[in-house]
């Protein structure tokens, strides 16, 4: 009977429900975005490259591929976008001393996403990536093969008096432009570096791209420093600080929009509820004439308001998620995670708003003088 009577009043009910649904949608949608913005922006920010660097702490504490990979394990795959270890040696190419970096190409690709590579990244032994300056200096182009020689004081002359230095044929697979000092290097794989220079495990610096807010990163680097005394983690201040500023501003903006929309919705729900209740004054009078008490009338109307609020809240959660998803796809081209705790929050909020919005109209309606209303107009 109640369901049927709600069905027959659907046009009126729908108006009220619509107002609540719109409010709940906007609320849950914006809260979802608000919560997800740091994660989304974090991924976005990682396009600007490394935000953490591992330097050797100095002293006799070990700073090796071993200790670094232990530190990386502490960060975890979740947060670690990429890590690139670097070892620098001077090599001879065409009799010229060239600064050469041994690294992990896949890691470098992630920590330096802004490098523009003409050709392709090396992915095999015997391949190298040349910085633009070096390529110009040596007149290298993609596909050229050069001999890379490593000369050190330890090199000893053999029986015939010839100094045998380790060397390797290297093919240029790509030429890299970054607009910075990185262009003055040649990049080879860490394995080739070890093959040429020995001293497996030696490292000079490690660049990392870690997702997370500044405070979390600070905590993380403190933990690493404590666990690995040989490693001195440093945050790239310029990057992390500006990330934090942008994030704070963005969240403040979303929060502001959320509150404004919420207030507007509240007004909208309140006026709709007032209209619904006012429209039913005559019915209220009749119900009172039939023996309904003031309390009974108020309870009935409030109950209906609560049901509407809960239903609107539930619909709003779903629509809000779709809304947030659409926004996220548009702005960040990434999907959003559904926040389960938003369901009780949104339902509670819309029941509360509907309750508050209905309270005064219902209260005045329950005071309706049956005799006056029923006299008819």
């Amino acid at each position: 009977m109640i369901a049927a009577s709600l069905m027959r009043r659907r046009s009126r009910i729908l108006v009220a429900l619509l107002a609540i649904v719109v409010g709940a949608t906007v609320l849950s949608g914006l809260v979802t975005i608000y919560v997800d913005v740091p994660r989304q922006m974090g991924a976005e920010f990682r396009n600007y490259g490394a935000n953490m660097i591992f330097l050797p702490a100095g002293g006799d504490q070990p700073y090796t591929t071993q200790t670094v990979s232990e530190a990386l394990a502490m960060i975890g795959e979740e947060r670690l976008v990429g890590a690139a270890p670097y070892r620098y040696e001077i090599m001879q190419i065409h009799e010229q001393p060239i600064e050469t970096a041994g690294t992990d190409m896949a890691g470098a690709m992630r920590t330096s996403p802004y490098w523009y590579v003409n050709g392709s990244w090396p992915d095999e032994s015997g391949e190298m990536l040349a910085g633009r300056e070096i390529a110009e200096l040596l007149a290298l182009s993609v596909g050229d093969t050069v001999t890379m020689v490593y000369k050190s004081e330890e090199d000893t002359a053999d029986a015939r008096g010839v100094v045998e230095s380790p060397e390797m044929e290297m093919t240029v697979t790509g030429i890299m432009e970054s607009g910075g000092s990185e262009e003055g290097y040649v990049y080879i794989s860490m394995e080739d570096m070890v093959a040429l220079c020995g001293q497996e495990g030696r490292l000079d610096v490690t660049e990392l791209s870690v997702s997370g807010e500044r405070d979390a990163l600070i905590r993380l680097s403190e933990e690493i420093a404590a666990a690995q005394p040989g490693i001195a983690p440093r945050l790239v201040k310029r990057v992390t600080e500006s990330e934090a500023t942008v994030l704070t501003k963005l969240q403040a903006l979303v929060l502001l929009v959320t509150s404004v929309v919420l207030i507007l919705t509240m007004i909208c729900v309140a006026t709709t509820m007032t209209a619904v209740v006012t429209e039913r004054r005559r019915e209220i009078g009749l119900r009172k004439a039939l023996g309904a008490s003031d309390k009974g009338v108020a309870a009935e109307f409030m109950g209906e308001g609560f049901i509407l609020g809960a239903a609107g809240g539930l619909i709003g959660v779903v629509l809000g998620f779709l809304f947030a998803q659409a926004v996220s796809m548009q702005v960040f081209s990434a999907s959003i995670t559904f926040q389960l705790w938003l369901v009780p929050l949104t339902v509670f909020a819309s029941v509360l708003v509907t309750g508050l919005a209905s309270f005064w109209p219902v209260k005045s309606a329950s005071k309706v003088d049956a005799a006056l209303v029923l006299k008819g107009e």
Partner: protein
């Protein structure tokens, strides 16, 4: 003791005496008509008897209870338990069907009981209209739903304020016949009407003017049946 007794009842609106020292008794099972020009205080009196309003002065005794001394909540209870109301403007809930409208009265009184509600509709000849909305019924049918609703809780006293005011002659006749049935079953009826032909069916007619009870006639040859109108 009479079922209803008004002693020196007045209702004052500002300077206006809508009811002016009215004295009246109604015995249990009696059928009384109230007549009078517009503004003479008929509805005011009905509202006071129906516990929708309170008298400014005087005493109203209903079934042994001095209702002018009761609180609003108690008045609601008395109305629910003892009084059936019928209005000129049907006053049905528009989004409820006939049977649901009857069940609303049951709901506030005790428990909704669809079977009983359908029986009440059958009594007023609306068995096959039970699941229609008010908008799908004629005025006469709507007023019969109101009669069914008013009698569903077996009220001691049925108050009808111009129940046939919005009806054509045929429907007027049907409603008056329903009143006769109720009267035969022992229900006390107080009917306000402008229509002398409806009024004269009752056992007694009371006339109000300017809030005063000015005339009272007893129908000597009471039958409870409406006379046929002269064809003009």
């Amino acid at each position: 003791m009479s079922l209803l007794e008004l002693k020196n009842v007045s209702k004052i609106y500002g300077t206006l005496r809508a009811l002016d020292h009215v004295n009246m008794r109604v015995e249990a099972g009696e059928w009384v008509s109230i007549m009078g020009p517009s503004g003479s205080g008929k509805s005011t009196m009905m509202n006071i008897i129906g516990c929708l309003d309170k008298a400014s002065e005087g005493e109203v005794l209903l079934d042994g209870t001095l209702i002018c001394a009761e609180t609003a909540d108690r008045l609601t209870e008395i109305r629910r338990d003892k009084i059936g109301l019928i209005f000129q403007q049907f006053h049905l809930i528009q989004y409820l069907t006939a049977v649901e409208n009857v069940m609303v009265a049951q709901y506030y009184h005790s428990m909704p009981d669809e079977k009983e509600a359908l029986e009440a509709l059958a009594r007023v000849g609306l068995k096959d209209r039970a699941h229609h909305l008010p908008s799908q019924m004629s005025g006469g049918e709507q007023q019969r739903v109101c009669v069914a609703r008013a009698l569903i809780n077996y009220p001691k006293i049925l108050l009808a304020d111009e129940p046939t005011g919005n009806l054509d002659e045929a429907n007027e006749r049907i409603v008056v016949e329903l009143f006769k049935k109720l009267h035969e079953e022992g229900t006390t009826l107080i009917i306000v009407t402008h229509d002398p032909e409806v009024a004269e069916v009752a056992q007694r007619t009371v006339v109000l003017r300017d809030g005063r009870l000015v005339k009272e006639t007893v129908n000597e040859n009471f039958t409870g049946v409406m006379k046929h109108r002269k064809v003009e």
